[in-house]
């Protein structure tokens, strides 16, 4: 009854190498120790690997669309001005909007990374279930995905900076500081959204609502194309709560010396950091509770 070596199967396929193998994995204790220390990075590594597949699309999206704004608005609008005439801050219009486009593009990238991929992890392809049965913890799954987004933002902002530099629209090297600033602004928007995404059981268009009714207004009313103070006061509050505005103020300061007082700079930074901290804690909490498990 229990004929344990079904006859005739050997001729069907190979598969013998595994059993003759001299390869052996390191001990489980080593796996556990390494995963405990570097697990977040292992998860990030996975995400970077998947992002690399869309490399061209991501690049087109991250650099191509701001480039269009640069050409259309910066150069097109800028050409309306004659001689030494400037619109804002006494700098060419391109110089004025480049920092805002850098930040907006990072915020947009972070927003899209914080929506659909999270749903893919929990539900659509149950991606999170893979690492969940390895020494990786739910907390590291959350952290790894966040880390990958940070890295993506740094890369895309660097590429963007190269383009802006080619147009001569940034003061270097101080302007380089705008790269981490853009990443901060991106995460300040992305992490709270990610925390929200982690609570969604069913995607019924919430993500496109986020794009249309959160990202777009913030993009348009954050002092992107003209200073926030040009808006009537009843619209300015949109900028005050917007990571795009806070990030843009800081990156304008870094990229061309836009006047930002020390305490103002601190407030901008503090707003971004608080949003990041809240988003980080909530995202982690939602991942841990939804992925069950112990930590």
């Amino acid at each position: 009854m229990t004929d344990r070596t079904p006859s005739g199967t050997e001729s069907i396929g190979g598969g013998a190498t595994l059993f003759d193998s001299t390869l052996s994995a390191h001990a489980p204790e080593v796996s556990a120790a390494k995963a405990t220390r570097f697990g977040t990075w292992y998860v990030a590594e996975y995400y970077l690997r998947t992002m690399r597949r869309y490399g061209d699309v991501l690049l087109a999206d991250a650099v191509g669309s701001p480039l269009m704004y640069i050409l259309a608005m910066g150069i097109g609008l800028g050409s309306l001005l004659t001689g030494n005439q400037t619109l804002f801050d006494g700098v060419p219009y391109l110089v004025f909007i480049a920092p805002a486009l850098l930040v907006s593009s990072a915020v947009q990238g972070a927003t899209s990374e914080s929506t659909f991929p999270v749903m893919d992890g929990f539900k659509w392809h149950r991606i999170y279930q893979g690492p969940l049965v390895t020494p990786i913890s739910p907390r590291q799954i959350a952290q790894g995905q966040m880390l990958a987004i940070v890295i993506r933002l740094l890369i895309q902002s660097s590429l963007f900076m190269v383009i802006v530099a080619l147009f001569g629209a940034v003061h270097l090297p101080a302007g380089l500081l705008a790269i981490p600033i853009a990443a901060l602004a991106g995460m300040a928007m992305g992490l709270p959204i990610m925390a929200y995404s982690a609570t969604i059981r069913e995607e019924k268009g919430q993500f496109s609502i986020i794009m249309r009714f959160i990202f777009m207004p913030l993009f348009l009313f954050s002092g992107t194309f003209y200073p926030l103070t040009n808006l009537p006061i009843f619209l300015q509050w949109i900028g005050w709560i917007s990571p795009i505005w806070h990030g843009t103020e800081l990156s304008r300061w870094a990229m061309y010396g836009h006047a930002v007082g020390g305490w103002q700079a601190l407030i901008h930074l503090a707003v971004l950091l608080v949003l990041i901290a809240v988003g980080f804690v909530l995202t982690r909490r939602h991942f841990v509770s939804r992925l069950g498990g112990t930590k």
Binding site: A25, H26, A33
Partner: protein, 321 residues
């Protein structure tokens, strides 16, 4: 082979089993999915959970890996408590989940690589290891394809290959061959048997009795989160069934009437909608008695008892319906 480094944080409370459960319980609100089960799996043993849909098999597997926290009872895996030391427990495990969760959009080979990285395994080890695993799963010629280009059976094989990337000492297989064709199932059973020969402990859930009979040294029959019986396949059949079974069909209208006439025949009977099972040491003799009582079945079959019969006896229900 597998040696255990004593944990610093929890004193190892090993009782000889690599997995030991005492009163293991999982509740979802008022509903009890796993209802206080006890079992112990010895090193190198192949241990089965046989039960119908909703019996609590997958829930038990998830608790063993610390992926799901238990509601009550004790659980010990390699001397560790999965709820408190999930990552350390899972470092010993290879897990084949009931539902494949491969990354469909990356290549077959990359799926194995990424997974190996979660165990902190290095590229120098993983590259040749992945070749071996692909060979094992007979997917060598698919190595460079995206997973969504594979058939269901190929994906299953890849999931199984993936679970072996860390040379696990304990393999948790949740319905490993569901969706495979008969030939692929036999190959897989053979591969699993060879892993067992090399000392890997196997924990297998299934609702296929032939799989349980092929793979398991010992198994528990579970239903509604409770253990109905425990033993080796042959012990279970000996204890809960007869050597042979006579199946007779009279057509669905005549079934009930025939059952009346057959009362008392054999050691035990099961009257199903479409047939009557008569449990007897000698099936042919039982058939002769059926004919002697003046009944002519439309069809009859004498076969050896299986775990299906054990399950039917224990629960009054069929395993797969």
């Amino acid at each position: 082979m597998p040696h255990i480094t004593p944990s610093l944080t929890s004193a190892p409370t090993r009782t000889g089993g690599v997995v030991t459960a005492r009163g293991l319980t999982k509740r979802y609100g008022d509903f009890t999915a796993v209802d206080g089960i006890d079992f112990e799996v010895a090193p190198g043993e192949s241990f089965g959970f046989l039960g119908p849909n909703g019996a609590g098999k997958s829930t038990t597997m998830s608790m063993i890996g610390g992926v799901l926290t238990r509601t009550g009872g004790e659980l010990n895996v390699m001397g560790l408590d999965p709820d408190r030391e999930g990552p350390r427990v899972r470092a010993h495990l290879g897990v084949v989940p009931q539902q494949d969760n491969l990354d469909e959009e990356i290549k077959v080979r990359d799926n194995l690589y990424v997974y190996g990285r979660y165990f902190g395994l290095k590229r120098a080890y993983l590259k040749p290891k992945i070749d071996e695993l692909l060979d094992f799963a007979q997917l060598t010629d698919k190595a460079g394809e995206r997973v969504d280009a594979l058939s269901g059976g190929m994906k299953r094989r890849l999931t199984i290959a993936r679970s072996l990337v860390n040379d696990p000492q304990i393999l948790l297989l949740d319905e490993p061959t569901t969706g495979l064709d008969p030939q692929a199932r036999h190959i897989l059973w053979d591969r699993l048997f060879r892993l067992k020969e090399q000392g890997t402990t196997l924990l297998v859930t299934t609702h296929f009795m032939d799989e349980a009979e092929q793979l398991c040294d010992r198994l528990i029959v579970v239903d509604h989160g409770r253990i109905m019986a425990e033993g080796s396949p042959s012990e279970l059949i000996r204890d809960y069934s007869t050597r042979e079974v006579l199946e007779v069909r009279f057509g669905s209208d005549a079934n009930a009437a025939a059952a009346q006439t057959l009362k008392g025949l054999g050691e035990r009977q099961e009257i199903l909608a479409d047939r009557i099972l008569i449990y007897a040491g000698d099936g042919e003799a039982a058939l002769a008695q059926v004919l002697a009582r003046g009944l002519t079945p439309v069809a009859s079959l004498v076969r050896r008892s299986s775990l299906e019969d054990v399950f039917l006896h224990l629960t009054g229900r069929s395993l797969v319906d």
